[in-house]
């Protein structure tokens, strides 16, 4: 764990992971420009926090840029919400500093911070109508009435709830309440909006609609969004940058594409999407032995005969005629999923998960082929401690 952590703390968001250097750049389809253009807005420096003697965050370092949509992603208890609450000022870290726009705000109370939060359970003020809710922050800042009225109109228009001024929060649906909560936060023109699983309580369809809504909002407002979720799909859809966390440590920082295509360890691979994670040995540069069979790959620099983990996404496993495959196996399960078929193929003693638009019936003999490019090599966890952290979820 110690070695992995050191690597994370030195990594700068500005650079792509070192491993990418040896990879065909065609694979990287999208490098957000914001990374190169925008300056750092928030720095979390060596943040540690424990509750009742239990370590929640351990020397966390994270830099957040202006106008970035950054998602903290991880299972419950991974420290993502604590990180957000430290940013909002609701929790003070045991150790470390929070730097906002060059100024140390570690000990600044929440009401003095230039960021606003959207809470998971909406947290609207139930005895005030919608207009009063939205005006709450502006009234504290003694803004003139005409200014406040304009802002309320503008904010309601932005969240597509025009004409809701006189309604009471109780009379709104969950999705509408959450949009009011967002409106209430953004009228204060924060530089950063913190969102704590804001879509967690909504049903699937509404959640998907709100994802697009949030991306639109972020683009219209041009501010930084820091978003906490345990839903990997939400993270992949909306983010510029995803920070995958587990057990108080950052596992990987990167664009959705990097996180998905080049997971750095078994935890990330397993948490983001479906994957085949297989024990393997790196024989030499660009050659790996998976389940006793040699596969060509594109990774270099792991040394000779080094044990590694290999990730192959189910959609990257090609099923072909037995004689043309690199290894041969038998189809054991078949499920129709709509867009694709999901199959399980037993080959060399491993259950391969395969997503494919082509179908092979159960019992069919098939060959398995994998493009060298789609084999992702990962270092084995450095210690048992890290392995435990990765597997436990």
């Amino acid at each position: 764990m110690r070695c992995a952590k050191a690597k994370m703390t030195t990594r700068r968001l500005l650079f792509l992971p070192q491993k990418a250097a040896g990879i065909d750049l065609r694979k990287i389809t999208y490098i957000p420009e914001v990374f190169e253009m925008n300056k750092e807005l928030i720095n979390l420096v060596d943040i540690s926090k424990s509750f009742d003697g239990e370590m929640v965050l351990d020397e966390l370092n994270l830099n957040i840029h202006e106008n970035e949509f950054l998602t903290l992603l991880g299972p419950s208890g991974c420290g993502k919400t604590t990180t957000l609450r430290i940013l909002g000022g609701f929790v003070s870290p045991d150790k470390g500093r929070v730097v906002f726009d060059g100024k140390d705000i570690t000990n600044l109370p929440p009401n003095k911070r230039q960021l606003n939060t959207v809470f998971q359970k909406y947290a609207l003020f139930s005895h005030m109508n919608i207009a009063e809710n939205i005006a709450f922050g502006l009234k504290i800042k003694n803004k003139p009435k005409s200014y406040i009225d304009d802002k309320i109109k503008y904010a309601l228009k932005l969240v597509n709830l025009e004409g809701f001024e006189k309604r009471m929060p109780d009379s709104l649906s969950g999705g509408q309440q959450q949009r009011i909560a967002i409106a209430r936060a953004i009228v204060n023109e924060p530089k950063v909006l913190l969102l704590d699983e804001p879509l967690g309580a909504l049903d699937l369809k509404l959640r998907q609609d709100m994802q697009y809504e949030l991306i639109r909002l972020k683009n219209e407002l041009g501010i930084t969004f820091i978003y906490v979720t345990h839903d990997q799909e939400e993270a992949l859809t909306m983010s510029d940058t995803i920070v995958v966390m587990n057990q108080g440590y950052i596992q990987q920082i990167g664009t959705p594409e990097t996180i998905y295509n080049e997971p750095e360890n078994a935890f990330v691979a397993d948490f983001i999407g479906d994957s085949n994670i297989i024990d393997a040995v790196m024989l030499e540069d660009k050659l790996v032995s998976i389940l006793g069979t040699k596969f060509r790959c594109v990774d270099t620099g792991f040394g000779r005969n080094k044990p590694v983990d290999v990730v192959i996404r189910p959609e990257d496993v090609e099923l072909v005629a037995p004689e043309t495959g690199i290894i041969q196996g038998t189809v054991t399960h078949l499920i129709f999923k709509g867009v694709h078929y999901e199959m399980e193929v037993t080959a060399n003693g491993f259950e391969w998960l395969v997503h494919s638009t082509g179908m092979f019936p159960v019992g069919a003999e098939v060959g398995i082929k994998v493009d060298p490019f789609n084999i992702q090599i990962m270092n084995k966890p450095a210690s048992e401690d890290e392995e435990a952290a990765a597997i436990e979820e």
Binding site: G89, F90, P110, N111, F119, F125, F136
Partner: protein
């Protein structure tokens, strides 16, 4: 058929058993004759002479003053305590709630005597001040009992949301948290007021000489010989407490709408 009739008779008997003494008292308070033995016609004479009695009016004033001030202070202390209890961990909260509940179950006479001993050992002169302190003490648990359920229903994020929008902690509390717990605070106040109003034993032990509330006044008067004015006074107290209890049960529901 017989069963329903039997049921009705049974319930009527229970109500007679419960309310016959009070009904007797109320009827006698309107009796023009001085003796309990015979009915001399309806009169309001005892009520009128009651309000001519300077001592009784003083006792009435004392009672209302103590009830109002002690429940107000108890509400402030109790509400603040609830905020703190609400932020405690599960285990600590259970312990603190247990401790606050004990005084309510404790016999009044024990509470009264122990308070009296405490005041005397501290060298505090018994009088209005000690009655007030005693009433505040026994009222706090009732306030906590009423406010706590409201507090638990509160979404903890609303307070944080107010801070987040720039409110100071005090402003956030009064603007956002307080309106939500207000029904609980109000019923806590009324409950404490009622408890204070009809307390006799604790007041009796902590009042000192020369200070009287209605209940202690009635007690001394009755010792001297029962006057019909006392029936009138008791009737007034009963009706007041009844009204207050009615309000306590009514208040939270109205607020919820």
């Amino acid at each position: 058929m017989i069963r329903t009739v039997a049921r009705k008779i049974y319930i009527i008997l229970i109500f007679i058993f419960l309310y016959a003494p009070i009904a007797t008292l109320m009827i006698l308070s309107f009796n023009a004759s001085r003796t309990r033995a015979k009915w001399g016609g309806v009169t309001l004479h005892w009520y009128i002479s009651l309000f001519d009695n300077r001592e009784i009016l003083q006792a009435l004033w004392n009672t209302l003053f103590i009830a109002f001030i002690s429940s107000f202070i108890a509400v402030v202390i109790g509400t603040v305590a609830c905020i703190a209890i609400n932020y405690m961990g599960k285990h600590k909260r259970a312990i603190v709630m247990g401790i606050t509940n004990i005084p309510m179950l404790n016999a009044d006479i024990v509470t009264g005597i122990s308070l009296m001993l405490l005041f005397i050992s501290l060298g505090i002169k018994l009088g209005m001040g000690t009655i007030l302190l005693a009433h505040i003490t026994f009222n706090i648990p009732y306030v906590i009992l009423c406010v706590m359920p409201r507090m638990k229903q509160l979404n903890p994020s609303t307070f944080e949301a107010a801070l987040d929008l720039g409110a100071s902690p005090a402003y956030a509390f009064f603007k956002v948290v307080f309106p939500d717990i207000l029904p609980g605070v109000l019923s806590g106040f009324l409950m404490a007021f009622t408890m204070s109003l009809d307390d006799f034993i604790i007041t009796h032990f902590t009042k000192g000489a020369g200070v009287d509330t209605l209940s202690t006044k009635i007690y001394t008067e009755v010792k001297k010989g029962i006057k019909p004015e006392m029936y009138a006074l008791s009737t007034i107290i009963f009706v007041t407490v009844l009204l207050l209890l009615f309000l306590i049960n009514k208040a939270p529901k109205e607020k919820l709408d």
